[in-house]
């Protein structure tokens, strides 16, 4: 009987320790128990970064659109005896727009004394960025292959592009480019500055 009571005392003390740890882990003061059991974060091996191409560019970024989107694949039905799949992730990233100034040529800049006319190409989306650190898996059911996940990530990028266009990124981009260049040319001493920007498609 004495042994049983001592054993129960020990169990009770362990339970108390766990219960003291748990609320502290919940509020983030201590690591969670599951993460302690799992061990440290997996570390990738040190491999080199290889330069494939170096390109001289002339791009003027004039607008950025930050977005956050919850992507739900819905239930993906799989053949009989295979579990259905579903992936919900949060994508965070940005869309950059502006002008590709490498399209400027001799005829794009016309100067007459203290006046200047600059013909810019239309503003366009230059980059849609959602890096791996911008994806956060929320729900993952079943075995999602890398190719499937890649397809969803590419789709999220298309959604970012569409949202940015709907928010008027190209119009704002053109306006910001005009203001920026106008200020620059006035600082260069031009009294009349005309920036011509065709409408973006």
């Amino acid at each position: 009987m004495k042994k049983i009571i001592s054993f129960l005392n020990l169990i009770a003390l362990l339970a108390i320790l766990l219960l003291l740890y748990s609320p502290l882990a919940k509020i983030g003061l201590l690591p969670s128990l599951s993460s302690l059991l799992r061990g440290g974060t997996p570390k990738i091996e040190d491999t080199p970064v290889i330069i494939q191409q170096v390109k001289n560019i002339a791009q003027m970024f004039t607008q950025t659109f930050y977005d956050e989107y919850v992507y739900d694949t819905g239930v993906i039905r799989t053949p009989l005896f295979n579990a259905n799949k579903r992936l919900i992730f949060i994508a965070k990233g940005e869309v950059i727009s502006g002008f590709d100034l490498s399209e400027l040529n001799e005829k794009s800049i016309i100067r007459r004394d203290k006046s200047i006319v600059v013909k810019l190409p239309p503003a366009r989306i230059l980059d849609v960025i959602i890096n791996p650190s911008g994806f956060e898996t929320f729900i993952e059911v079943g075995q999602i292959t890398f190719e499937e996940s890649k397809k969803f990530h590419e789709d999220a990028r298309r959604i970012f592009d569409r949202n940015a266009r709907e928010k008027g990124i190209l119009k704002n981009s053109a306006e910001q480019g005009r203001q920026m260049l106008e200020k620059f040319f006035r600082l260069l001493g031009f009294e009349s500055v005309d920036i011509i920007i065709p409408d973006s498609r």
């Binding site: 003390l13 970024f61 950025t64 959602i130 008027g168």
Partner: protein, 199 residues
Amino acid sequence: MNADPQKKPRARKRLFILGAVILALLAVNVAVPRRQAQPLLSARTLKDLAELATIEYSVTKIVSYKDVAWYGDRKILFETAATVKAGIDLNELADQDIKLEGDSGVTVSLPQPKILLFNMKPEQMREIFNESGVLRSNFSNEEKDGLLSQGEIDIRAKVATMDILQRAARNARILIESWLKKMGFTAVRVVFKEKRGRR
């Protein structure tokens, strides 16, 4: 077998107190809410930029991970690629950074170049190898994203040590000089402002 008769009730009493403590702690555990992640306030916003990108590096990296255990291994290998653009932030260009010298001379002091954009496109990534032992679970999507994120951090760090900023500065100088010459300036000088301390 002449155990102290007073010891038994004392042990039971202790057990009773411990039970009460457990119940109280259980109540605390239920009451303490799990920490919630702070929502991003910057979502869905348009912001003005004034940046001139003058160089683009396309780089690749193999991301590999081996999880070796006595009950089976898990191994995965990805081929990843990233585009990095560097240039100058024209927002840092102040009025006094452009100095006119007569009608045909000008000196422009540009800010120091920096990395403006880092992009790892999903379509440029490939899973080359993925194998898990019989007793091991397959790599989840979340784990794969975690490993690729580490690859991203590594590429960012290694590209920063390459000559991308020197090339960006050289190209910015060539570009600005050629534009100013097209505008009719004959004596053009493009310099870079002194490096400031780390921000």
